[in-house]
C-alpha cells in the first residue's frame, strides 16, 4: 500500500485508546465474581478482539509512503521537571509489532482457554490469568508505541510484573524458580538500562541545555565517544538479555519450560522482540558510532547464538526447552540482520520478528495441545506415532516444524533469507557460517517431528483424540498468516522498509553496491 487505505481523523488519540482498551478489559475481568469463570474468559476475549479490530483500523489508516517519522503521534507533558513526556507514535516497525501483539493475544487466549483448571499445577484464578494477559497486552502496545525513551523504559519494566505473575502463578512445577530467574535477569538488564537512561538524560542536558527523554530530540545529539560506548552497553545488555542473545539466554529455557504455552507465546513471541526492537529503534539512531564500533561483537554473539542454539536444541530431550533454544537460534538471525547495517538485513530482521512470533505461536500452541493430552509431559521420549492417531494435530505439528526450519513460502523463510542476504553483502564468511544454521534447524525440527509424530504408536498415545474445534480455530489463523506472509510478504515489507531506510540514514550507512553495477561497497 503506497498510501493509507482510509483516512483517520488525527484528532483522536488512536494509540492511547489502543493501549487503554485492554487495560480497561483487565480491570473489568478482575471485577467479575470469581465464580463466573466462563464469563471472565469471554469478556477477556471480547476485549482482545476489540483491540485487534482497532489495530486493523490503525493499520489501514497507516500511510507507508508518508515522510513523517511517526504517525498517530501524541505528546503530553508528564514529568516536565525531568524532561519526560507521554509521547507515543508508530513507524512501520512499531506498527507491525503492535499488530503481532494484538493478533497473538486473542489466539493465545483461545488456546489457553482451559489452562487454569483444577487438574493443573497453577495456583491462580481464571480471571486473574486472563486479566494479566490483557494487562500485558497494554504494556506491549505501550512499549512499541512509546516515542519517549523514559516512557519506553517504564513499559519495558512494568511488562515484567504481569509476565512474572503469569509464569509464577500459572506455570508448571518449577514455576517459582523460573519466574524469579526471569525477574532477576530482566531486572539486571533493566537496571543497567536505567543507568544508561539517566546518563543519556544528563548528556542531553549538557548538549541541549535542558535534559530531555524525547526520542526525536535525542537522535543525533553528539556524545563523546567514551560515554557513548558506555551508554550503548547499558542499553544493549538490557536488550540482549530480553532478546535473548548468547550468552544471556539461560533464563529462557526455564521460563519457556515452566510457563503455560499461552504465556510462553506472549513471552517469546512478543516480549522478547522488545529487545531486538529496542536495538533498531534506540541503539542505532541514538548511538550510531558506538553501534558500528560494537557491531563486530554483536555479530559474533549473534552467529554463536545461531549455531549454539541450534546445536543445543538438537540435543534436547524436552520439547519446550527445544522450542526455547530454537528461538534463541532465530534471535541470533534477527540480531545479525540488524547489525550488518544493510536494508535487506534489517528489514529481514523486522520481518523475521513477525514471522518468528507466528512460528513460536505455532510451536508452543500445538506443542501445548499435544502435551495437554499426555498429562503435560514435555519429554520427547513420551511420544511417538502421534500423527497416525491424531492426523490434524500431526499436520499442524508438521507445519510448525516447517516454519521453524524456515521452509520457503512460509513467513520465516523471507526473514531468514533477507537476513542472510543482507549479511552476505558485507560479511561473506559470517553469512556462510550462519547459513549452516539452516541445516541444523532442519535437523532438530525434523528430529523432533520424527521422534514424536512418526514411528510406531507409543504407549499412552493410542486413543489420543485429535484437535477439537476451539483448538483448530486457535491454530488456523497462525497457519494462514504464516502462509500469507510467506507468499506475499510485501504487505509487511512495504510498511517496514521505509522505517528501516530512515534508521539506516540516521546511522549514515548505505547498502553496498552490486559488484557489476557499482564500485564502492561490495565485499569486505
Amino acid at each position: 500500500m503506497t498510501s493509507s487505505m482510509l483516512n483517520l481523523p488525527t484528532s483522536i488519540p488512536w494509540l492511547t485508546i489502543l493501549g487503554v482498551v485492554p487495560l480497561v478489559g483487565s480491570v473489568v475481568v478482575l471485577l467479575l465474581p470469581r465464580a463466573r469463570e466462563t464469563m471472565a474468559k469471554q469478556v477477556a476475549l471480547a476485549f482482545s478482539l476489540v483491540t485487534l479490530v482497532l489495530t486493523v483500523v490503525l493499520a489501514l489508516g497507516f500511510d507507508a509512503a508518508s515522510s513523517a517519522p511517526f504517525q498517530f503521534a501524541e505528546k503530553y507533558e508528564w514529568i516536565a521537571s525531568l524532561g519526560i513526556s507521554y509521547s507515543v507514535g508508530v513507524d512501520g516497525i512499531g506498527l507491525v509489532l503492535i499488530a503481532l501483539a494484538t493478533i497473538l493475544v486473542p489466539i493465545v487466549m483461545l488456546s489457553g482457554w482451559n489452562d487454569v483448571a483444577p487438574g493443573t499445577t497453577g495456583r491462580g484464578t481464571v480471571k486473574g490469568y486472563f486479566a494479566l494477559m490483557l494487562a500485558l497486552e497494554t504494556c506491549m502496545v505501550g512499549v512499541f508505541a512509546a516515542t519517549d525513551v523514559f516512557l519506553f523504559y517504564v513499559f519495558f519494566e512494568v511488562m515484567l510484573i504481569p509476565t512474572f505473575f503469569l509464569i509464577g502463578r500459572f506455570g508448571g512445577a518449577q514455576r517459582a524458580y523460573a519466574s524469579v530467574k526471569f525477574l532477576i535477569y530482566s531486572l539486571v538488564g533493566g537496571l543497567l538500562m536505567l543507568a544508561a537512561l539517566i546518563g543519556l538524560y544528563v548528556v542531553s542536558a549538557d548538549v541541549l541545555g535542558q535534559g530531555t527523554f524525547d526520542f526525536m530530540q535525542l537522535v543525533g545529539i553528539d556524545i563523546d565517544p567514551g560515554t557513548e560506548k558506555l551508554l550503548f552497553l547499558g542499553f544493549f545488555i538490557a536488550f540482549a538479555i530480553k532478546a535473548p542473545l548468547w550468552p544471556f539466554h539461560t533464563w529462557l529455557p526455564d521460563a519457556a519450560r515452566e510457563a503455560t504455552p499461552a504465556t510462553a507465546v506472549l513471552l517469546i513471541g512478543v516480549l522478547d522482540k522488545v529487545g531486538t526492537f529496542g536495538m533498531i529503534r534506540y541503539l542505532l539512531p541514538i548511538f550510531p558510532s558506538a553501534s558500528q564500533w560494537f557491531a563486530p561483537l554483536v555479530i559474533a554473539m549473534a552467529v554463536i547464538g545461531i549455531i549454539y542454539g541450534a546445536l543445543v536444541a538438537l540435543g534436547q530431550s524436552d520439547m519446550k526447552r527445544l522450542f526455547a533454544y530454537s528461538s534463541m537460534s532465530h534471535f541470533g538471525f534477527i540480531a545479525l540482520g540488524i547489525f550488518v547495517f544493510t536494508s535487506q538485513g534489517m528489514s529481514g530482521s523486522v520481518f523475521y520478528m513477525i514471522a518468528h512470533g507466528l512460528a513460536t505461536a505455532a510451536l508452543f500452541i500445538v506443542g501445548g495441545y499435544l502435551m495437554s493430552r499426555r498429562g503435560g509431559s514435555s519429554l520427547i521420549s513420551d511420544y511417538g506415532g502421534v500423527a497416525k492417531v491424531a492426523p490434524i494435530l500431526g499436520g499442524f505439528f508438521m507445519f510448525a516444524a516447517l516454519s521453524a526450519l524456515a521452509l520457503p513460502a512460509l513467513a520465516p523463510f523471507v526473514g531468514e533469507f533477507l537476513v542472510l542476504l543482507g549479511t552476505f553483502e558485507r560479511y561473506i564468511v559470517i553469512a556462510v557460517i550462519a547459513t549452516i544454521g539452516i541445516v541444523l534447524s532442519a535437523a532438530y525440527a525434523l528430529r523432533l517431528y520424527q521422534k514424536t509424530m512418526t514411528g510406531p504408536v507409543a504407549p499412552g498415545i493410542d486413543g489420543m483424540k485429535d484437535l477439537g474445534g476451539r483448538e483448530f480455530t486457535s491454530l488456523f489463523p497462525v497457519f494462514a498468516l504464516t502462509l500469507v506472509l510467506g507468499v506475499i510478504p510485501g504487505i509487511a515489507l512495504n510498511v517496514i522498509n521505509p522505517a528501516v531506510d530512515r534508521t539506516l540514514t540516521t546511522v549514515g550507512l548505505t547498502d553496498p553496491q552490486p559488484v557489476l553495477t557499482g564500485t564502492e561497497g561490495g565485499q569486505p
Binding site: L311, V487, G490, N497, V515, L516
Partner: protein, 630 residues
Amino acid sequence: MEVTTAAGGAFAYLWLLIGFPLAGAAILLFGGKRTNRWGHYVGTLAVVASAAYAVILLLALMGRSPEERTVVQHIADWIFINKFSASIALQLDQLSMVFVLLITIVGSLIHVYSIGYMKDDPDRRRFFGFLNLFVAAMLLLVLADNYLLLYAGWEGVGLASFLLIGFWQHKNSAAAAAKKAFVMNRIGDVGMSLGIMLIFVTFGSVTFSTVFDQAGEASDTTMTWIGLLLLLAACGKSAQFPLQAWLLDAMEGPTPVSALIHAATMVTAGVYLIVRSGPIFDQTIVASTVVVIIGTITMFLGAFIGSAKDEIKKALAGSTMSQIGYMILAAGLGPVGYVFAIFHLLTHGVFKANLFLGAGSVMHGMKNRENMRRYGALRAAMIVTWLSFMAATFAIMGIPPFSGFWSKDDIIHAAFEHNIIIGICAILAAGFTGFYMTRMLVMTFFGKARWEDDQHPHESPPVMTIPLIILGIGSIFTGIGLLFWGNIETWLEPVTGFETRELAIPAIVLEGITLLVVLVGAAVAIAMYRRSVAVEAPKGNVLVRAARNSMYDDAINDTIAVRPTYWLSRSLVWADRSVIDGIVGGSAAFVGGLSGRMRRLQSGFARSYALAMLGGAILVVVVMLLVRLP
C-alpha cells in the same frame, strides 16, 4: 540471444500449470475425510489437466519462431527490499517446456498407476495430495524465472519427497529415511542459498535473464564460486557424490513415489539447474570440470551399487544414480553436452519410470517383497509387466533402436569429443549398465522360481498395467521421436546453445564399441545368473560387499558428520547447564552465602554493636583525614 515475450494468448494462463495440482493438493489435504472416496480421482485429474494444458502450450510454442519461444508471466511481487527483488514470475521456454511435459505426462501415468497400487492403503487420499503437491512444486521449480523462486520450488519438492518417503511413517525406517533425505538436501541447499546471494551481490539481481546477460562481465573466481555452490545444490538434489547416501534409503517410499520423484523428475532437478545455469558454467572451466568429475564418480558409484543390490528397488536406485551421473557428466561438458544431458534426462525419465512401475507391479504380485533372490521365472505370471520391463531394460542398456540408445550414445559421443578418458569411463559405465540390468531382468523374470511358499504371483490390474504399456511404448520410441521428429537439438539450442566438434573416430565405430561393451556386460550377467541363484546372498569379495553396503556411505557420513555433530550438541547441552547457567546460579549462591555469613555479625550484643560504631567513627575520621593527606 532470444527475446522474452509477455504471456498472452495460450500462455495467458501459464500459472494454471501449477494451479491445477496445487488446487488438487489443497482440496485433498484440507478436505479431510470427506474426500476419501473420490480424492484420488481429483488428484489424477488435476495432473492430467496440467498435462493437457502443457501439450497445448507446446503446440503454441512450436507455432512461434525459435527466438520468440521464451514467455514470461509476472504473477506477483514476492520479496523486494530496495535493490533486491525476486518476483513470483513464470518463464516458459524450450527447456522448461520439455520438463513440464515430462513431469506432467509421466506424472499423470504414475497417478493413474497409483490408483491401483495404493487401492488398499487407508491414506490413499493423503498420498495423492502429496503427489499433487510434488507436481506443483516441481513445475514451479522448472518454470521459475529467477533463482529465488526456483529455490522455493526446490525446497517444495524436497518437502514433498520428505512427506512421501515417510508416507508409511509407522515404519521407523521410513521416517528415518525421510528425515535423512531432507537434511542431506538441506546441505545442498546451503550451496543453493549461498549461490543465490553471491549471484545477487555480483549481478544485483537473481532473475535468469538479467544474470545471464551479464554473465560474461563477472570475474572468473566469482563465477567459479557460483558454479561450485550451484553444483553443491545439484549434488544434494540429484544424489550425486558425496551427497548420494539418501537416495537408496528413499526407496522406503511407495514405489510410485520412487518412480516419479526418485527416478523420473525430482532427482534430475540438479541436471536442470546446471543446464539452466549454463551461461554461468560456460564462464568457468574449473567448475564445469568439477561437474564432469562428480558426474563420472557417481556414474561408477551407482553402477557398482546397482550391480550388487538384491532388493530390486535399491538396484534400480543405484542405476538411477549412475544414469544421473551420465547427465551431470554431460552437463559438465558445456554446450556440447547440455542438449544430450536433457535428452538423456527425458528418455531416462520415461524408461526409468517404466522400470520402477514394473518393479512395483512385480512387488504388487509378490506381497511387496523386494528380494530378487526370491523372485525368478515371473515372466509367465505377469506378461505385461515382463514385456514392458524388457523394453525399458533394453532402453537403458542402449540397445538400438530403444530410446536409451540415442541419448546415451550422444553423451558418450560428446564425452569423447571432450576428453578421451571421460569417454572411456562412459563406455565402461555402459558396460556396467548392461550387467546390472540384465542381472535384474534374469533374476526376476527368468531362471527357476525361488519364491517363498506363500507366494502366488499374479499380474496387476489394468489401472496399473495400462500405464506400464504406455511407458513401455515410450521406452521404445521416445528416443527416436525426440531426435528425428522433435529434433531436440535445434529445439533446445536457443536456450542451451549447441555445438558439435569433429571426432577422430567415426561415430558409427564408437557406437559399435559401446554396443559391444554393453553386450559383454549382459553376457556376463546371464552367465552368472541364468543357471542358478543362491537364495542366500553369497559372501562375495571385498568389492561386492562394499557395493552391497552402498560403498559404506552411511558409515562414512556417520564418522565425518553425524556423530561429531551429536557429540558437539551433547557437550554444548552440558556446557549450557553447568558453565553458563552455572555461573549465574553460582553468583546467586555466592550472595546467599555472603548474606548468611554477614548476618552472623549481628551478634545481638549491644557492646559489640557499640564496638562496631566506634570502629565506624574511627573509619569515618580516618577517611576524612586520608583525603586531606595528598
